[in-house]
Every structure is written in structure tokens, then in C-alpha cells.
């Protein structure tokens, strides 16, 4: 029944999916945290930038962002993120960039919701000790905010895992592109869809379970 799979590198495609997910997750966690820091900070210009960024980016379809990365940045402006003329590498990197740009808006909001769970008194006590704004944020507020934000961040990570399929639009050889390829060549539509769906469940279900456990484990007791 699975004979038709012989000519395809299913594991390889899913490995690309995993790579896209992990790289974009790391990037958007960093950028999203900085955006959240800007949005709660005292500098009006940064607050404005953070707010504008989140509201603009999260309302643009991911496909548009990914396509712009490839057509706009690469084809038109020649920005290849160090990949030179190797189109495949360039597209992979641009897809990661697009995913980071998009996902960080959601990461920012998840972290901001976490910040809102930290009582004002925590920051006041830190300020009263003489900590600077950055110290208050990174030593006292954010560590507690992250613990409260594990749940929302898990949702973002699962969404990101599935969103990597959009990278197929610019020819990154991940699971969805493989599926398109297989559907065109094989007469096994249902089975192919089921295999790909199963593959994604294998990635996202453990993510949800493990992070759910982590969230409980690190929760701050008050």
C-alpha cells in the first residue's frame, strides 16, 4: 500500500519543516520579546513602533509576507541573506525570515499577556531597590511573564509549525511542497493527505503535551 512512497523523501521533507519551525521559533522568540519590551517601555517612540509593528504585521496574510520575502527581497532587491546565487538556500532563509517577522507579532502579544499577570508590586519593589528599567524588566518581570505565557506561547508554536507549510509557496522543500508533488504524480490523494496530516500531528501533539507539562512545572506560586 505504501509502495508509492519509495521515490519520495518524506522524512527529509519533514526535517525541513522541523528546521523551519525551530529557527523561526528561536528568532521570533527573541524579536517578539524585544517588541514586548518596547511596548511596555517608557519611551514613546519605541512604544509606538512596537504597537504599529504588531498591528500591521499580524493583519497581513503570511502568504503575502513569504511571497514578498522571495519576490520583493530576493528577486527585486537581491537580498539573499548570504546565500548568493543558490536559490534553494536563499528561499529557505527568506522563508525563515518571513516566519520570524510574522510570528514575532503573536509572540509579542503572548508575552505581553504574561506581563499583565505579574502584579504591579513586583516591578515597584524592584524599582524601589534601585534597579534600572531594563533590569526590572529582564530580571523581575519577564522571567515571571514567560512562566505565565507558556500556554499562549505553545499555541503560537503549534500555529508556527503548521504555518511553515506556506513556505511551499516559494519552493522550500518542506512537507507541504512534497505533498503537492505527490498529489500531482500519484493516485493516492487520501492516503497522501493522511500521511502528511499524521506527520504534523507527530510534531505538534508532543509539543502541546510537553509544553503543557512545562507550563505547570514552572508556574509561579503566589
Amino acid at each position: 500500500m505504501f509502495d508509492f512512497l519509495d521515490g519520495y523523501d518524506v522524512l527529509g521533507a519533514f526535517w525541513t519543516t522541523v528546521q523551519l519551525t525551530l529557527l523561526a521559533a528561536a528568532g521570533s522568540l527573541i524579536w517578539g520579546t524585544l517588541l514586548a519590551a518596547m511596548r511596555v517601555g517608557p519611551v514613546p517612540l519605541m512604544r509606538g513602533f512596537g504597537t504599529a509593528y504588531v498591528n500591521i504585521v499580524r493583519n497581513i496574510p503570511l502568504t503575502v509576507i513569504i511571497l514578498f520575502s522571495s519576490l520583493g527581497l530576493y528577486s527585486t532587491l537581491g537580498i539573499s541573506l548570504g546565500a548568493g546565487d543558490i536559490v534553494k538556500t536563499a528561499n529557505f532563509r527568506l522563508a525563515v525570515l518571513g516566519l520570524i517577522v510574522y510570528t514575532s507579532a503573536f509572540v509579542c502579544e503572548a508575552i505581553r499577556s504574561g506581563i499583565n499577570t505579574v502584579p504591579v508590586g513586583q516591578a515597584e519593589a524592584a524599582r524601589a531597590l534601585g534597579l534600572s528599567f531594563t533590569q526590572v524588566l529582564f530580571v523581575v518581570v519577564l522571567p515571571q511573564a514567560f512562566r505565565a505565557a507558556v500556554g499562549p506561547l505553545t499555541n503560537v508554536l503549534i500555529a508556527l509549525t503548521k504555518n511553515t507549510t506556506v513556505a511551499a509557496a516559494i519552493g522550500v522543500g518542506e512537507a507541504a511542497l512534497l505533498m503537492k508533488d505527490m498529489v500531482e504524480k500519484e493516485a493516492q490523494l487520501l492516503l497522501i493527505s493522511a500521511i502528511i496530516a499524521f506527520g504534523f500531528c507527530c510534531l505538534t501533539l508532543p509539543t502541546g503535551l510537553i509544553l503543557g507539562w512545562v507550563g505547570k512545572k514552572v508556574a509561579v506560586k503566589r
Binding site: 519593589a125 524601589a128 531597590l129 534601585g130
Partner: protein, 258 residues
């Protein structure tokens, strides 16, 4: 009482540490602080009392600029209170603050709570910071709880840790914003005892409280506030036995007969 008189002698010999000059503050239409003039000398223990909403907590919080003021001037140890930024952080490090709701850092152990300011603000050596933290925790009687998290401690223990955390910075003055108001009655005394000990050792303290017993036994001066103004200030004996203003008489008649 003998200890208090010792502290009073210190006062006479030293200069003014905290000076508030015609300080005004509004919360919207509410004029919470109205032309407050208050001078606290080095080593003095000043207790601020008054009905709810009289502005006493706000007064306490303006002194390390957790609340900004609309007009007037506040100086600490001769220096005007800076605006936001590094200067302000430096000043706050010299002003210890104890809150009604303790506000211990919930994600850090008791020991880490007391070490944090030393490490991040004073840039102290880790080993020395730990030694100092443990000594302070012993001093306030919670040395055995050092490795627990705040949520595992009783309110009284948490508040004593909070006092140790503030003391770890080696402050010039300590502000107490209703330190016993969130405590179960049985835990109030353990906190007051620590504060009394501090007062005896000559720490300059500004204490907003409803604990009249503490005011009587530890304060050099009682400041009575009502409706955003300082209505009366006097030595505790004089204030409690013979208040001059009607507002203070009314307030005392309501709280002392229960």
C-alpha cells in the same frame, strides 16, 4: 522607652535627612497631598497616621518617587529627588521601602530576594552578598527559610524577608507603607518587633501605620494626616494623651475605644 530617648539625642546632633517642601499632588480632581511640609532628621522615627484616603501612603511613596509630585520639592540627604533615569535608581537604592503586600519576587527564593539588589545594583561579590543576606535573614528571624520561595512563607515571615531585602542595600532611610495591614493579627507583632529593633539601632524610619502601640513605643514623632494635609505633629505621648486638633481628637476617639 529608654532607647527612644537615646534616639532623640541622636536627632539633636544630626542634620535633616528627608525634607519635603510644599509638596502638592493630584489624582485627577482629587488633591491628595496639599502643601505638605515635613522634615525628618537623621535617626528619627516618624509615624504617619490618619484615616484612609488621607494621603499618608501617597506621601510615603512620593519620597522615593514611586509617585511623582505636581509641585514642591523633596530632598534626601541634601540632594533633590532626580527625575527618571540612573540618578533616580541610585537614590532609590539608598531608600529602603517595605510594602503593605510584601512584594517579594515570587520567582526567586528568599535568599535570592535579599541578594538581588546587592548583586544587580551594588555590584557586590556573590559570596559577600550571600553572607550579608544570610546574616540579615538571621537577624529578622527567618534564617532557616532562606531556600524557600515566598509563597511557602507566612505573611509575617514574608514581611520580615522584605525588611531584610531593603536593609541589604544599606539604606539611609527606611519607608514602611502600612507594613502590617495585610497581616493576620497573630503575625503583626513579629514584624513590629523587627521594626522596633531597627528603631532602637538608630535607623531613620518613616512608618505609615495603624498600629498605635508601635507609634507610642517606637516613634519620636507622630504626624497626623487628614484630607491630604498634615493636621498635627507631636511627640507620641503628647499626641495620644492630648491631641490639639479636633480632627485628631475625633480620629483617636474612634480607634482607641475598641
Amino acid at each position: 522607652m529608654t532607647n527612644v530617648s537615646v534616639a532623640k539625642e541622636d536627632v539633636a546632633a544630626s542634620d535633616d535627612l528627608v525634607v519635603l517642601k510644599s509638596v502638592n499632588k493630584h489624582f485627577g480632581a482629587l488633591h491628595v497631598l496639599q502643601d505638605i511640609d515635613l522634615t525628618i532628621a537623621r535617626g528619627e522615627v516618624v509615624v504617619v497616621i490618619g484615616p484612609s484616603g488621607s494621603g499618608k501612603s501617597t506621601l510615603c511613596r512620593t519620597i522615593n518617587r514611586l509617585e511623582t509630585i505636581d509641585s514642591g520639592a523633596i530632598t534626601i540627604d541634601g540632594k533633590a529627588l532626580p527625575h527618571e533615569g540612573r540618578e533616580l535608581a541610585r537614590l532609590r537604592a539608598d531608600v529602603g521601602m517595605v510594602f503593605q503586600s510584601f512584594n517579594l519576587f515570587a520567582h526567586k527564593t528568599v535568599l535570592e530576594n535579599v541578594m538581588l539588589g546587592q548583586l544587580k545594583v551594588r555590584k557586590a561579590d556573590k559570596k559577600q552578598a550571600e553572607e550579608k543576606a544570610r546574616a540579615l535573614l538571621d537577624r529578622v528571624g527567618v534564617g532557616t527559610q532562606a531556600d524557600k520561595y515566598p509563597a511557602q512563607l507566612s505573611g509575617g515571615q514574608q514581611q520580615r524577608v522584605a525588611i531584610a531585602r531593603a536593609l541589604a542595600m544599606g539604606p539611609k532611610v527606611m519607608l514602611f507603607d502600612e507594613p502590617t495591614s495585610a497581616l493576620d493579627p497573630e503575625m503583626i507583632n513579629e514584624v513590629l518587633e523587627v521594626m522596633q529593633q531597627l528603631a532602637r539601632e538608630g535607623m531613620t524610619m518613616i512608618v505609615v501605620t495603624h498600629e498605635m502601640g508601635f507609634a507610642r513605643s517606637a516613634a519620636n514623632r507622630v504626624v497626623f494626616m487628614a484630607d491630604g494635609r498634615i493636621v498635627e505633629q507631636a511627640a507620641p505621648d503628647q499626641f495620644f494623651s492630648n491631641p490639639r486638633s479636633d480632627r485628631a481628637k475625633d480620629f483617636l476617639s474612634k480607634i482607641l475605644h475598641h
